[in-house]
């Protein structure tokens, strides 16, 4: 940045970027988030296999066991639910469906929405108009009705739940992608690619998508929490995930009648949703910068402070 040398090879560019992990370690909040998310993913993957039995072990006469006691084993440390099942084990097992639904929904919605948005942004006006009108229709189609239609016609199941939630989220990705594409396609490096003779496919996938992707990633992480909450709301209304499947959202909804008598039934799963959402948000903020070669340097020498969006370099002249 202070390059004024007239030598043939001016101002050596900075040392190569340190590996991502080292960069993550430097941002403690992001690192903690990553660890939490990793734990949740591990729980989601291994939970049902390891603790499935335990999580379904009912004991009607020992229901609503109060938390913070090891008297009945570690699995009851967070208390027992209304059928006497250990909360901790259930929370771990529920991570599976929760993450599956949230990730499945976000992935499906982002994929379809981004694809449609790319087409709508890149293609001509007519295609774009048709896609946008369709998005409008989906947008104003009440998700509750959609949930009832799908549940009634296809039955309650996790894939169907994903279908319902994904359809309602598609327009978000579609509109964002389209707006970004409209802007990015006018950028100079896209024109440079056109001049070199790049095909539409190359321009979309090599030049436009990588620029749009971080924005989508940000929306997706925010959406992840939103989907968990939407799923929970549907459960509350009785048109969401149904037992024997369990998700955190369902656990919160089911714990609702006990809020005044056994707070832990709804509190722990609710807390997990909040923690997951927070961790995702923090990590996505970090990732947005880490994955951008333009901004990565901000993380390279940083110790603790979270990344501010303000450039910290002397301006021109």
């Amino acid at each position: 940045m202070t390059d004024t040398s007239l030598a043939k090879t001016p101002a050596p560019a900075p040392r190569a970027a340190p590996p991502l992990l080292a960069m993550l370690w430097r941002d403690k909040l992001a690192f903690a988030s990553a660890v939490i998310l990793l734990l949740i993913v591990v729980a989601a993957l291994l939970g049902p296999a390891l603790l499935g039995e335990m999580a379904n072990d009912q004991n009607l006469r020992g229901r609503n066991f109060a938390p913070f006691s090891l008297a009945r084993g570690w699995q009851f440390f967070l208390g027992g639910d209304s059928l006497g099942r250990p909360m901790l084990a259930r929370l771990i097992v529920a991570a599976h469906s929760t993450i599956l639904i949230a990730a499945g929904t976000v992935a499906a919605a982002a994929l379809v929405g981004a694809a449609a948005g790319l087409v709508a942004g890149y293609m001509g006006k007519t295609t774009s108009q048709v896609i946008m009108r369709l998005a409008d229709v989906i947008m104003s189609f009440p998700s509750l009705l959609l949930a009832v239609v799908v549940l009634y016609v296809l039955g309650p199941s996790i894939p169907n739940m994903i279908l319902v939630l994904a359809i309602t989220r598609i327009p978000i990705y579609l509109r964002t992608t389209r707006a970004e594409v409209l802007e990015v396609r006018e950028r100079m490096f896209v024109q440079a690619a056109v001049v070199m003779g790049a095909s539409h496919r190359r321009i979309i996938f090599r030049h436009i998508l990588p620029v749009v992707a971080p924005t989508l990633l940000t929306i997706a992480t925010l959406d992840f929490a939103f989907v968990m909450l939407a799923e929970s709301s549907l459960s509350f209304l009785g048109i969401g995930v149904q037992p024997p499947d369990i998700t955190w959202g369902l656990m919160v909804a089911q714990g609702r009648p006990y809020l005044t008598t056994a707070w832990w039934l709804a509190f722990w799963p609710g807390l997990l949703i909040v923690i997951t959402a927070l961790a995702l948000n923090l990590l996505s903020g970090w990732m947005r910068i880490a994955l951008d070669p333009n901004q990565r340097w901000r993380l390279e020498a940083r110790s603790t402070a979270p990344v501010s969006a303000k450039p910290a370099s002397p301006t021109h002249g």
Binding site: V137, S140, L145, V148, L237, L259, A277, L278
Partner: protein
């Protein structure tokens, strides 16, 4: 401007028609309202009479044509459950949802702008972090959970506000407060981001070079520019709220359109569902026009 609104009106009308067709046919896939209206022991004859009375025995295409013809005369049909014109039922619910949505959004907008701007002005500071974390936690907690806890704490425990209902202004406090949390969390983040961008814009440097004080610098010079991306998000949030706040309305016994919608869907009161969706779509369309107008008021470059 008029031309633009005209174009949008046509596009919206098309979307609205598509939506209507979709809802009409999809909702009829979800079972027989007769079964739900009548008691479980009702005879087949009673069910048939019910269907005949409401034209549900006709082929679905004919039902659709009839609906369409009625609609052209602005007749949205009668509610199956309430034996009243569906539109009347919906508008009645709107009379509750609209003020709830407007008041909540107004508070959201003011609070998000003030707090978001101040957070952006001292970026990375204590206040900034506090706003970020609080808004994030608030926005990711299940709302029915918050609602019930709020009732337990503020109505029963402290006795400050009534538990539910709509009688006095005090009744509105909890629903608005609960409804406020999520859009606020979102909007305040957008305001912060947008103001962050706007505060580093060159014209802010000019203003500082002019000797403009800090408060006008934020709220006069920067805010109007920073508001542009915020308006879109506010619009989206307001649209969601116009759809009714199902959870909040259900818990607080607030007779709004969200509660009406879920009840009508569960009871297969098709005409009310359709009327509610169309009135909502119309409201959202009008709101989008308001947003366009707000845009052009805020930004002269759009006006010219």
């Amino acid at each position: 401007m008029t031309k633009l609104i005209g174009q949008r009106a046509i596009a919206s009308l098309l979307s609205l028609f598509g939506l209507m067709v979709l809802v009409f046919f999809l909702s009829r896939l979800t079972g027989d309202p007769a079964v739900l209206f009548l008691p479980i022991d009702a005879t087949e004859q009673m069910k048939e009479e019910f269907r005949a009375l409401h034209g549900l025995d006709l082929p679905i295409i004919e039902q659709f044509w009839r609906y369409l013809l009625d609609l052209l005369q602005l007749d949205f049909g009668d509610s199956l459950r309430k034996a009243r014109p569906a539109l009347e039922v919906v508008l009645e619910a709107y009379a509750w949802t609209l003020p709830l949505a407007l008041i909540t959004m107004a508070i959201v907008v003011v609070a998000a702008i003030v707090l978001g701007s101040l957070a952006a002005f001292k970026v990375g500071g204590f206040f900034d972090r506090l706003v970020s974390i609080v808004s994030l936690v608030g926005a990711s907690a299940p709302d029915f959970w918050i609602a019930i806890v709020a009732i337990v704490v503020f109505s029963i425990g402290l006795g400050w506000v009534p538990t539910s209902g709509v009688g006095t202004p005090l009744h509105w406090v909890l629903p608005i407060a609960v409804l406020f949390i999520r859009p606020f969390g979102l909007v305040v983040q957008v305001v912060r981001g947008s103001m962050l961008g706007a505060l580093s814009a060159p014209y802010v440097k000019t203003a500082r070079a002019k000797g403009v004080k800090n408060l006008p610098l934020i709220f006069v010079h920067t805010l109007r520019n920073g508001m542009l991306p915020v308006i879109t998000v506010i619009g989206d949030q307001a649209a969601a709220m116009l759809n009714g706040a199902v959870i909040v309305e259900t818990i607080f016994g607030f007779p709004g359109v969200g509660k009406l919608m879920i009840d009508s869907i569960l009871q297969r009161d098709f005409n009310v569902v359709l009327a509610a969706i169309m009135v909502t779509a119309l409201a959202i369309f009008l709101m989008n026009i308001l947003i366009d107008i707000a845009y052009s008021l805020l930004d002269p470059r759009i006006r010219h």
